[in-house]
Symmetry: C2
Subunit: 334 residues, 2 copies
Amino acid sequence: MVKITDVARRAGVSPSTVSYALSGKRPISDATRRRVQAAVHELGYRADAGRVRAGRGSKVLALAVPMRPGIHVPVMTRLAVSVVTAARAHDHDVLLLTQGDGEEGIGRVAETGLADAVIVTDVQLHDPRLPLLRSRSLLSVPIGVPAEPEGLTCVDLDFRAAGELCVEHLARLGHRVVALVGSPPEVYVRRTAFARRLVEGFTSAADRHRLTSAVHPCGTGREDARALTERLLRELPALTAVVVHNEPLLDPLTDAFERLEVRIPGDLSLTAVCPAPVAAAARLPLTSVAVPSAELGARAVRLLMRKLSGAPVPGATLLPPRLTERASTAPRGV
Amino acid sequence: MVKITDVARRAGVSPSTVSYALSGKRPISDATRRRVQAAVHELGYRADAGRVRAGRGSKVLALAVPMRPGIHVPVMTRLAVSVVTAARAHDHDVLLLTQGDGEEGIGRVAETGLADAVIVTDVQLHDPRLPLLRSRSLLSVPIGVPAEPEGLTCVDLDFRAAGELCVEHLARLGHRVVALVGSPPEVYVRRTAFARRLVEGFTSAADRHRLTSAVHPCGTGREDARALTERLLRELPALTAVVVHNEPLLDPLTDAFERLEVRIPGDLSLTAVCPAPVAAAARLPLTSVAVPSAELGARAVRLLMRKLSGAPVPGATLLPPRLTERASTAPRGV
DNA sequence: TTCACCCGTCGAAGCGCTTCGAAACCGCTT
DNA sequence: AAGCGGTTTCGAAGCGCTTCGACGGGTGAA
């Protein structure tokens, strides 16, 4: 194994100079740096990984994305990309954790110092990872707000307000019977924070406006969509509006309504909660509340950087939802 | 961070004893070992990422996913997830690189030894990253086969064979005029390896079977789909079959054909090249050649591990394509 | 009882690297 | 010629860990 002293000898400098030349932690003259780099290259030197990060600050962030059934893959992808981009802007790299529950991964990363902070996604109301996140040994920013967010620095879209906003939009259009077509049941069973919050907002706004409302979790397949539409029409014959919080179901659902001769927005108004591009590119452009995945990722990174630098950070950041009208909603009975 | 001396103190032994108890390199009495293990457990000690790992190797893999316009996001996501899963099975973590061109990221990772190997995606025929990948200083596995794959360990679906397979399937069904609806133009401008290879296969098979053929890159929007379908019907009135290698366009395209009263598969047979789940879940289940993203990721990791262990590896692995018949193809004129 | 002989343990040295403090050097001004 | 501020480089100490050599105290044989 070629070591730093070999490089130093070859470059005619001391080991410490090589160390600084490679890490950039102290200024090194251009000439010397070039000689060191040449030596590194010629000898094929590679820093002994362990020690490199002995001094704290590995310049690595972990991103925990539990790939659980029912999560919205495109949302997660956008999030991941924005996190990496933002992290790079702060000279950090991103380690991707996708473990089933993520607990093991986060622990490992914290203990070994592989990463010096972690962004956690798909937060549940009573997330088993919370104790770990609250522990002093690891800085973290959850994207999602658990039941008791004390001691955490959370970021998320205000899903409660998003649910309310959808209902208010529909109520304003004169609709009196609304349904929420939600994510797959397992998402609620896990008590995923954002899904639950949306339901809360939806229900409370519906009550406030004295609307008849129903909530239906739903799988993502075409069969699921078909079954649900039939059931909705049967159980709620007066239904004229739905809110859909289930990205992959959007297309199958509009399709299923179409087959049942239910026109959108003529007979039924549809509001989606999904990333803006998805809503805009749908077969029928959908009125939607945007899930700003990219912004969430960028904000999470920004907060983490502030925490790393020791600056004070807000307890929780809830982005206000924004509704964009497109072609899938209309006043009732027009 | 809890260190070996903490454990030693807790167990009432010397650090060296702890080291031996954990590594098993010298006999340690059962009683002592048990006390050490208890202390380790209570304090949550994890060996500092340096020495335990046999000296070399950071146990981190980099995955370079250039997020360029026109790439197939779901394919990349599947790939990323499978890479992380496979890497974890080999006790490695995954660093996500998404830089524009990826060159800088790969270089950085190689220089700093942050990762000890890298998986490269979205390979172009003349990829600027190739010199870096060929250099001795970094182990790599490109997913994709450049024009000159010498000295590399590539993995990919055999896209040339995939193109041929689609054409042969259609030819066997009696179709005489076929079109390839490709990825967005920028993908070809970059000379992305897999896209170019598919075109080659498509064209050469069409020529071999004396079919009339045409190749059309196409954007991913509904407008693009609409414009393209009209153009196809105008320029190739005898067209009865298309191959689509453009995942996000699948739905808009079938939709556009529908609007022009072109029935699938009655008037037109459609074969897709995309991940199997996408084809199976489409509104009309599509006959397709599967892009096995998950398997590609797993294979790439396996190869990388072999390289890391110094074992010999094959030069290139080309997975044979498999075509699955679904509801979008039929014999001509039925 | 004495003596080899292990087994289990310890102390200390060493590994490759980082990092702190200080020395050496540079081109200027006095 | 000496002094100065700034940059660049070095030497030495230290990090958490492994590993070598040696020590102590039991054992069985003489």
